[in-house]
Symmetry: C2
Subunit: 157 residues, 2 copies
DNA sequence: GCTCATTCGTTAGTCCCCCTAACGTTTGGA
DNA sequence: TCCAAACGTTAGGGGGACTAACGAATGAGC
């Protein structure tokens, strides 16, 4: 077991007020916490966030091309290749050429993929809960609402 | 100028609701927007966020060792080396051995560093404003408060 | 006074996410 | 028919956060 590094993360009380109130800094740090927690929970099932996002998108939107999955998940097309490689290798997704347009693959969710998605949904819920522990239900809703406005504004165009 | 990549970022309307409401995902995406905007504004002056954070910490807390700067900024000690290398090379900070404890360096803000900090403060304010454009003043305050609670909770131990 | 764990600065290198560049194939519109 | 565009794919870059290890220096407990 490696020694715990005492010099990695900021001492909250010692951070200058100017930095402590910067939205960009707070977003970066909170995103870091969120990543750590989400990855840890999903890793318990040997999964990643990209795999989860792709599986959810297949369930919600039905079979789709890789390009469509990229658009809907925000995962880059060049990375989607590897994600689908993992998902098909483990039997959670199927990838077959589209006979109507031979440039495309049609990706579908398998039964095993649906089952796994149920497990991952639960893990992700746990991760959200751990992340948002210090906030009330109303505050969690407010935070999500504000972040959605931010994301929508900066994603447009 | 390179072709704009039309396949990088998610199409907001096509993202499944389950993903669109995940706090961890929204934090990651918003942090990405924040990083892009902050970097762009600071780059106009040839600066980085780590440089800015270090300069602010020197102004707020006065001269300090590199370890103290790491604790106060959250920048890893191994990365702080390079940041101070840049700041001293450009004459914005000074780094001298501590006669009382020869393991340490005492880092101080120079006059040129103070002047530069004034410029960067303004650029950072502009970046925050661009980032938070879609939110009212009250909403910006609320967002910052919620994120502070999140960060403090997950930074403590 | 010594010993030894600890701290400090530093270097090197890893991992993950996001992104660019380029390519061969296939399609569809001018 | 020709050419621009979309598709999947491969290779690689760059930044941020981190681990591991090291020599030098310090200081607390014996």
């Amino acid at each position: 077991m490696p020694e715990r590094d005492r010099h990695a993360r900021a001492d909250p009380a010692a951070v200058p007020p100017r930095l402590r109130s910067l939205a960009s800094r707070l977003l970066g740090r909170s995103a870091g916490h969120a990543d750590r927690i989400s990855n840890a929970h999903l890793a318990a099932a040997g999964a990643t966030r990209w795999q989860y996002a792709t599986l959810v998108t297949l369930r919600d939107g039905g079979p789709a091309s890789q390009a469509a999955l990229s658009d809907r998940t925000g995962i880059h097309r060049s990375d989607m290749v590897a994600v689908l490689g993992e998902l098909t290798e483990t039997g959670h997704a199927r990838r077959v050429p589209d006979p109507a347009d031979r440039r495309r693959n049609i990706v579908t969710l398998t039964e095993a993929g649906q089952a796994r998605l149920g497990v991952l949904d639960h893990l992700v819920d746990q991760a959200q809960d751990e992340l948002l522990t210090p906030l009330s239900a109303a505050e969690r809703g407010e935070l999500v609402r504000l972040l959605q406005r931010l994301d929508e504004h900066h994603s447009a165009r």
